[in-house]
């Protein structure tokens, strides 16, 4: 079942509808409920390879629904430590639980100062209101 619309308070957001959950020098990344809903049920996740370097504001993977494909934009730069195999096997997990089991990758941050450029919940909700 697709999750109800929600945007957790403890995340940092990127205006391209991506989120980051930062823990020390690592972060877990995913896409927001809005992005997942706009695409519809996900049927494919094309992940980066573990060990790859991803760059803030640049695509690091692709998500696809039946009808559309969309780049996933990195909210932060870093090295990919882990790809969520659950989402690779069952991409609809992102629709069901976008901020929990539907995370996409875990990275080691290469520039923690980039965090300052991300949006807090209020600022992201403004982005959504302007859509």
């Amino acid at each position: 079942m697709a999750a109800a619309e929600s945007y957790p308070e403890d995340l940092r957001y990127h205006p391209e509808h991506d989120w980051a959950r930062v823990d020390g020098d690592e972060a877990v990344l995913g896409i927001t409920w809005f992005a997942a809903d706009a695409l519809g049920e996900l049927v494919h996740f094309e992940p980066p390879t573990v060990g790859a370097t991803i760059a803030k504001d640049q695509p690091y993977g692709e998500v696809e629904s039946v009808k559309a494909v969309s780049d996933v934009i990195a909210p932060l730069s870093g090295e990919v430590l882990e790809v969520n195999a659950t989402v690779v096997d069952a991409p609809e997990t992102v629709n069901d639980d976008p901020y929990g089991n539907g995370w996409l990758v875990r990275i080691r941050l290469s520039d923690p100062s980039e965090l300052e450029a991300l949006l807090d919940l209020a600022a992201y909700q403004q982005v959504l209101a302007d859509q």
């Binding site: 697709a2 049927v43 494919h44 094309e46 039946v66 009808k67």
Partner: protein
């Protein structure tokens, strides 16, 4: 450039149901309600209804209507009786496909052609310009609404008697006078209900009240692709011929019609490329326009909700067209393996 989109008589109902509306062939149409995948499965397992009122209806009437149509359409229309329907192609001088359509024989002198929304004007103009004395071609699209009710339980849910495929009859459904066409674009049992545009709302409400699931154009596309029905504009076009597309069965080359000579030549020489169906062997979703290694191209691609794998159709050089041939598809720069399969890609296990 902004263009005003047309709306079917059911537009307000689609919006009220929470449909996602998208522009399609000049119309504002529902692409999905609950989601492409659940809608697709509803049609494969029970029944779904699609508003296809955007499709065009042309009426051809007169003592020489048959003669006109026989000279322009690829199939042999003389083979059907009043009450029967036939899949056929409108071809140009090169044998290219202007449109694929269903012709209904209403009576001895009257035929109804249901054409693709995107080709309504081109098809109408082509026929109108070639009218002969004793034949009259009219675009009656705005008069009618069309609902496709499809799925193994479609006929049962509508309370209709069984009838052979490619036939039609007049009847009443929920108090609305309809022409019930035993045709469809999903590979499932079912029918298409044509009614007066003003009655469409009542008919739609009645069909939904019977437990039929509203379905959008998204599911319509995945359903037709699983069973390898070509989509004009993707898999067939004025620049592709029916022999290469595997539609030779709808071309009666022993009769004369526009482009027949060219099609005979293609058939005799053997087509240089063929439209094949394929299934991905690696996780990836093929999309229209992706190159196929060796000189081919994907014309339609999606994720199959029933097989849960990427599927598609595309043109490949004839030597690569036999089932089980390995293909390599360029998925945004990444080579991904696929395998040619026999059509249809999906077949119900009875």
């Amino acid at each position: 450039m902004a263009q005003t989109l047309q709306r079917t008589p059911l537009y307000d109902r689609h919006v009220a149901l929470g449909a996602r509306m998208v522009p399609f062939a000049g119309w504002e149409m529902p692409v999905q309600y609950a989601g492409v995948i659940p809608e697709h499965r509803a049609v494969r397992t029970d029944a779904g209804v699609f508003d296809v009122s955007h499709m065009g209806e042309l009426e051809v009437e007169g003592p020489r209507a048959l003669e006109l149509l026989q000279s322009l359409l690829s199939n042999d229309l003389s083979r059907i009786e009043p009450g029967q329907a036939q899949y056929t192609l409108l071809t140009n001088e090169r044998g290219g496909i202007i449109d694929d359509l269903i012709a209904y024989r209403l009576d001895g002198f009257r035929y109804l052609l249901v054409v693709n929304a995107s080709n309504r004007e081109a098809a109408f103009r082509w026929l109108k310009e070639r009218e002969i004395s004793g034949s009259d071609v009219r675009d009656v699209s705005d008069v009618y609404a069309l609902l496709a009710v499809q799925g193994p339980r479609a006929i049962e849910r509508l309370g209709l008697p069984r009838a052979p495929h490619n036939t039609f009859a007049m009847a009443e459904v929920d108090g609305v006078e309809v022409m019930i066409n035993r045709t469809g674009y999903t590979g499932e049992d079912g029918c298409e209900l044509m009614c007066m545009a003003d009655d469409a709302g009542r008919l739609w409400d009645g069909v939904l009240a019977r437990g039929v699931v509203p379905c959008g154009l998204g599911a319509r596309d995945t359903l037709r692709l699983e069973v390898c029905f070509p989509l004009h504009g993707n898999d067939i076009s004025p620049d592709t011929d029916p022999i290469s597309a595997g539609l030779g069965w709808a071309c009666k080359l022993e009769k004369e019609f526009t482009g027949a000579a060219e099609l005979r030549r293609i058939k005799e020489d053997g087509p240089k490329r063929k439209l094949v169906a394929f299934v991905m062997e690696e996780p990836a979703i093929p999309r229209q326009g992706m190159p196929i290694e060796g000189g081919g191209e994907v014309t339609s691609g999606t994720h199959s909700p029933m097989l849960e794998v990427g599927i598609g159709m595309g043109y490949v050089p004839a030597p690569m067209a036999s089932p089980d041939t390995e293909l390599t598809i360029d998925v945004r720069g990444k080579p991904r393996r696929a395998r040619v399969v026999k059509k249809p890609i999906y077949k119900r296990e009875d």
